[in-house]
Amino acid sequence: MTRRRRSYEGVAVAVPVTVPYVRYSIRSAHWFIGRAIAALIDESGIAKDAIDGLCLSSFTLAPDTAVGVTQHLGLAPRWLDHVPTGGASGVMCLRRAARAVQAGDADIVACVGADTNHVDSFRQSLGSFSDFARDATWPYGSGGPNAIFAFITAHYMRTYGATREDFGRLCVDQRSNALGNPHAMFKKPLTMPEYLDARAIADPIHLFDCVMPCAGAEAFLVMSEERARDLGLAHVVVHGAIERHNAYADDPIFFRGGWRVDRDDLYAQAGIAPSALDFVQTYDDYPVIAMIQFEDLGFCDKGEGPAFVRAHTMTSDGTFPNNTSGGQLSAGQAGAAGGFLGMVEAVRQLTDDAGPRTVPNASLGLVSGFGMVTYDRCLCTGAVILGRAS
């Protein structure tokens, strides 16, 4: 029998910051990481030297890693990690940072997801994204993730009877949430007819099923609850967290993710049922993936995603608030910062910092991540349950 793992008790997540997104930037990733860490320092009032841990996620930093960033920004942390799990990196940076704090390897860890976006960098990163992409998907039409997720969406629609309107509900509600988020790239409402009439990208994926690549950063600090209280920082606590890689590898096509393997563990750690959650921040690279998370995280059974979105409103004031910042579909996808978006938003929600998009009386929220399409699916899944500090 495996040894029971230690809980995440005593860990605080604080100081959610966003470096405003821009569609294209002439700056490098280092610039965005620098702005993010400066914002963490400004908002928290702590000294730069007090940050003794750095956990970083970025696609566009190459050939540098977190190592080069320490010299670039004049940091001397005693704990360092570089987490290359893209859309799952927010959850995974938090897990690693939390353990470092609990173990005493670091006192205050800056977790940063940041990327730049030059006019041609998205195309270039797709072709060299992974060995498998270079050898076995990019030469086939060079559609990038759009082609892969078109397969996944088409298969899901055929198998479970989802319609484009079902995905439209998700997207329209997220856009409504985005209108309350000053950082969101999209500033206008999205109507269902606009969603349905958008131009086709890779059938059945249309324009508003795709995220807009952009440049920007999201970041937060991880420290002990005690430290957060001493510093007078609004913070949230961690009730449970899971991750999994390359789950269900024998499935011919992706229709369920690693969350399903570990969800019982997640809710057992938190001591709650899914129904106790006040909001979710799902990973929304494509709306079908958000729907699959509703199923695999236990809000409904497999195949009931379409009925679930028909039965709920997913706005911040709705019956099932989802991606209250607008998610990547409406806020934009700033590379690896997309994997931090839900985490930063959840901390804002649970520290009364979400302005007009506040979920009323929220005390528990779930953030999930999904990252890295190396071949025919994303490999990394993770989720965390955050709660209001007592």
Partner: protein
């Protein structure tokens, strides 16, 4: 809403009919119209050609027309994409092994947008995800006759315009004109409606090649003949075919090659260099170097002269519409792999030509022109009079060349002897060298 399958029929070069339940049947392509000389000739953009070293094993098999995937010697798992270790048992004993071509079409999509220029110029582009009977799930380019998912499908490997192997999903039962599929025509070098230069029409092999190209629907066949005053049988019959134009061409004469190139190089879509000199000597059987020099002058330097004049012209027209320049065929010999001592100087000239042909292939690749090397065993002609059967009939050799172009194959070893020598050479080239020495 229109289904994805229906949408794929928006296609400018292949007229298709659609039904709600079955896939569209490929319509035969029409002969391309004369192009407007005022318009710029489109230049090629290649599809992505980067591959890891391990993945090149897939291309190596496809170059011979085989569909092979990595199989684990220890646990027999078949895997894709290619890896450095078995994903099941971690063994590194992985072999590229031919696989059954059946599979289950899991889903399809039609790209309306691509990040790559090659595909952007060819949208919409249809793709499928297939669960192979052999095990792995693979992404494929879809033939237009493949219907909607789910259903059975055949999968094969083809060399694409970048010279790299890709997987193609074919209908289980293809129609008569399935080779005219817009996507498939990009991957192959079908002679139909194309203009061909055959460098020597005097030999039995050359005449068989000309007839094979005429039968395959070539629009025009220029047939070279050196020393026109020397009459040989059969040339008049060939010249009487309406598609054929006889042209003076002497590969030993640089000026002759240049003059012909000036007239026709800008129109040729396929070059078939079949001109060769074949004498049956080793080293000691004939004094002096005159015969060996004559072999080299045609078999090696002839190729070099031809490639210098015609190569650049082909490269400039590799995206010139439906009947673009597409391929270069070299008639080599299985003796190019290992010397057949009784035909020693001929073997050496073919080995030199093979090496030069590899160079030509590398230089033509950026333009997407395919170089096809043909390695026959002994051909049933005068110069192999003393070689015992089986010998390759000229017509069989000609048909093998046309088939290679239609199938997009890069290396062809036609006939039983060539196949057997290839197998022996692959097994152990040193052993083959000893065996061939014994046969001399």
């Amino acid at each position: 809403m229109t289904s994805p399958v229906m949408k794929t029929t928006a296609n400018t070069t292949t007229r298709t009919t659609t039904h709600t339940t079955t896939a569209p049947v490929t319509a035969a392509i029409d002969k391309p119209r004369r192009k407007n000389p005022v318009l710029r000739t489109r230049q090629i953009n290649l599809p992505p050609g980067a591959r890891g070293r391990v993945a090149l094993g897939f291309t190596a098999a496809a170059a011979e027309g085989r569909f092979a995937l990595q199989a684990c010697e220890r646990c027999a798992a078949v895997q894709y994409p290619p890896r450095e270790a078995c994903h099941r048992c971690l063994s590194t004993e992985l072999t590229w092994r031919d696989q059954p071509d059946g599979g289950h079409l899991v889903c399809t999509t039609t790209l309306r947008h691509s990040n790559d220029l090659f595909f952007r110029e060819r949208l919409p582009w249809r793709l499928g995800l297939v669960r192979l009977d052999a095990g792995p799930t693979v992404m494929v380019h879809l033939h237009g006759e493949v219907g909607g998912e789910p259903g059975r499908i055949r999968v094969g490997a083809r060399i694409d315009r970048a010279g790299m192997a890709v997987l193609i999903g074919y209908p289980e039962q293809g129609s008569a004109h399935m080779a005219d599929d817009r996507m498939l025509r990009e991957m192959t070098s079908d002679p139909r409606f194309r203009k061909v230069l055959v460098t020597d029409g005097k030999s039995a092999v050359g005449q068989a090649i000309v007839r094979a190209f005429v039968e395959a629907g070539a629009d025009l066949v220029w047939v070279g003949h050196a020393e026109p005053w020397k009459k040989l049988g059969g040339l008049d019959d060939i010249g009487a075919l309406p598609q054929v134009t006889l042209v003076p061409l002497d590969l030993t004469d640089g000026r002759s090659v240049t003059e012909l190139a000036g007239e026709i190089a800008g129109k040729v879509d396929i070059v078939v260099n079949n001109a060769e000199v074949h004498r049956t000597f080793g080293i000691a059987a004939r004094r002096g170097t005159d015969v060996a020099r004559a072999e080299m002058d045609i078999n090696y330097f002839g190729l070099l002269r031809l490639a210098q004049e015609f190569g650049p012209a082909l490269k400039g027209r590799s995206a010139d519409g439906l009947a673009s320049a597409t391929a270069w065929v070299n008639l080599l010999s299985i003796y190019a792999l290992s010397s057949f001592p009784t035909h020693g100087t001929f073997s050496a000239s073919k080995a030199a030509a093979y090496s030069l042909s590899q160079c030509l292939r590398a230089e033509m690749r950026p333009a997407g022109i395919r170089v096809v090397n043909v390695f026959p065993g002994p051909i049933d002609d005068d110069w192999n009079q003393h070689v015992p059967p089986p010998k390759l009939a000229p017509i069989a050799l000609a048909n093998a060349i046309v088939k290679a172009l239609r199938d997009g194959v890069e290396d062809v070893y036609p006939g039983d002897v060539a196949q057997e020598w290839l197998a022996r050479w692959r097994d152990n080239p040193k052993v083959l060298e000893r065996e061939l020495a014994g046969e001399g």
